[in-house]
Subunit: 406 residues, 2 copies
């Protein structure tokens, strides 16, 4: 018998009508004889509404209380879907995060799953129930409700699938699957049939919003087969799976564009040991994640240090940088918020050279100036001015022959 974990995102449960449609999909799978665990997001817009309520209540809402507030969104959809299934004669039972056994750390707003004890879910599906889980949430060891961050329901679903060794974790969303790039930017973008966890991870990190980063990490770590597909049609979507030999023949799988970063440069940082450590320790203590870090040596025993953070963390990161710069007697701080990071991703880069050269040449041909560069084994990223972002994506999509066959 097949055990399927099905996750439905906010647009798939946007209102009662949509939730009723989700119920039909769930029923269909159940009627085939599969065991089904459903993981739900909040209705689209609800989380934003709750955040705006919190912002009316307080300029900087307490994070523990914000988690409690936000958790009501998924609680609502889980209760409603269970009601609908039951009223149609199916056995169904709702589970909040803590009832589903999701134990997290105490970092409110972006808690990480520490442990997961799925015995209640297991018992439910084994006694013929459809288990309906409120995604995005768990509880810490004190029993306080926590949330897993934007897109956290993906992680709930993958974590449950891994814990119960489900045959597949289906992520139902409002797009048909994972695309070579954002189809809204590039009309010739193609759906990818199969992609490796590594590539998916890079794409998620770099701004492809289809899956939460942590969910991909989780899926990779425990080899959970993930199927990203549309909740509005019956088409096959994208399978996210372990790397296979043939995957390396595709040199570049996708192009991403992340507009959510901002750049901070500290000028004339004294060129001596421990200086970078001081800055990045201060940033880490404030729970600010730093993405790119670039350092250039200068001739006068000082160096310029540049890094990028998310737009959300920018103001705090700038304050901390100014404080540290003053302490270490560095020069002025330069910042830029109107930037974009375009990246090419592909397992094939491991075994093919010349990808960087092709990328830089393609951008140069369009007179797009590259401000920062960073690379990983399967990725090359360039920071450019935000106004060139869409042009860059389309240019690279063509340059690496990703355009749809006409």
């Amino acid at each position: 018998m097949t055990l399927r974990v099905q996750k439905y995102g906010g647009t798939s449960v946007a209102d009662i009508g949509h939730i009723k449609n989700v119920a039909y999909r769930v029923q269909k799978a159940f009627d085939q004889g599969d065991k089904i665990i459903v993981v739900l997001s909040a209705m689209s817009g609800v989380t934003d509404h709750l955040i705006s309520l919190a912002e009316q209540a307080s300029d900087s809402p307490d994070k523990r209380e914000l988690d409690l507030l936000l958790a009501t969104g998924e609680q609502t959809t889980a209760a409603l879907l269970s009601m609908i299934l039951k009223s149609r004669g199916y056995k169904a039972k709702s589970f909040l995060g803590f009832q589903a056994g999701i134990l997290t750390d105490k970092i409110s707003g972006k808690a990480r799953i520490r442990d997961i004890d799925c015995k209640n879910l297991k018992q439910a599906v084994e006694t013929g129930s459809i288990a309906v889980v409120a995604g995005f949430q768990g509880a810490d060891e004190d029993g306080s409700i926590t949330t897993l961050g934007r897109g956290g329901s993906d992680t709930s679903a993958v974590a449950i699938a891994s814990s119960l060794k489900a045959d597949v974790c289906e992520i139902f969303t409002d797009v048909d699957g994972v695309y070579t790039t954002d189809p809204r930017i590039c009309s010739s973008a193609r759906k990818i049939d199969r992609i490796s966890y590594e590539e998916m991870l890079e794409m998620a990190i770099l701004g492809a919003k289809v899956l939460q980063i942590r969910s991909v990490e989780f899926a990779k770590k425990y080899s959970v087969p993930v199927h990203v597909r549309s909740s509005f049609n019956e088409e096959e979507g994208t399978m996210v799976v372990n790397e296979t030999k043939d995957m390396e023949s595709v040199i570049v799988s996708g192009i991403t564009c992340d507009m959510n970063e901002a750049r901070i440069t500290l000028k004339r940082v004294p060129d001596q040991p421990g200086v970078s450590a001081k800055l990045f320790t201060s940033l880490a203590r404030a729970e600010i994640g730093v993405d790119m870090i670039i350092q250039n040596t200068r001739s006068d025993n000082a160096t310029d240090l540049t890094f990028t953070v998310t737009q959300d963390d920018f103001e705090l990161a700038r304050e901390i940088s100014q404080k540290v710069a003053k302490e270490m007697d560095a020069g002025e701080i330069l910042t830029a918020r109107e930037i974009a990071k375009v990246s090419v991703i592909g397992l094939g880069m491991k075994s093919h050279s010349g990808v960087a050269a092709t990328m830089f040449q393609a951008l140069a041909d369009e007179n797009i100036n590259i401000r920062l560069i960073s690379t990983s084994e399967i990725r090359i990223s360039c920071v450019i001015l935000a106004k060139y972002a869409e042009l860059a994506v389309r240019t690279l999509h063509s340059a690496f022959n990703l355009d749809q066959k006409k």
Copy 2:
């Protein structure tokens, strides 16, 4: 040091502005040096909105799932008030029902509190926090979320107050206290300064909506001093306390009117043992509470049996009655939904005669026909046609000298 439990109803937390005002009241009490536990209802209208969502989802929403859905209302207000208090520099911590240690039975929608373990609340207030509790909810022994029925937040508050032996349980609402009758019906109604648990219980049962019945039972059982007062001004409200000697000098304390009942009569019920038991056992099994029961003997070895139930339970009660009537070979079923039950209540009735005579004469003087009568030690109730309800209330209010001094 004084421990105060403060409960704020739906109109007191209707929106963020109102919740901010509640926060000022809570702060004021805390700043006086009192320990404060706040119990909150959902924003007014929210519970009804959630019920309508559930009704869109299903014609008869599953009760366990409905409880989960409804519980989001109080979760929201508890999170928001805690945020506001914290952003103003106060230590505050929210608690859901189960986190506050409220263990209930499994009767979804009208669960009863089985046990309450306030160690978490105790610890919070003893370490200088304001504890903010989501009212109306608890959890059963399996960890499923349950709700305590309409007005259940009153019961949450009184139960917590009794468990922690609080000095007072303040019920903040949108009226100034308990009135001799509904001021919307009778403009000369007066606020009562002190009332006994017994009288308050009769008034709550009979439709005075200011306190949930169970909360009064709880308060009476554990002698919790309850102060019903307005959240919109600083006036003293009504103290609900143990009976004192002087209370008996007031013959009638209040007049109530309950429009929420419906009457069912079974004609020609065989006049033999066990017949009533059969009917009322069937009703009890369906969890239908029966209020008045009247039986008249007839000459032909059969009797008419009349009883009243709430409007909500009416349809189901009628179906059950029809089934039982058929089985016992009784006659037709007569029903009436357009009825009102007007009652006079007073501890003084125990020691004063003539109250019934005064009541019946006053109604007769207005040509109001009495359909059913029932009495308790401190109450006389008459069922009349609904269209005479307001006239009856005003007439009785005058007849027992309850009108405000001009």
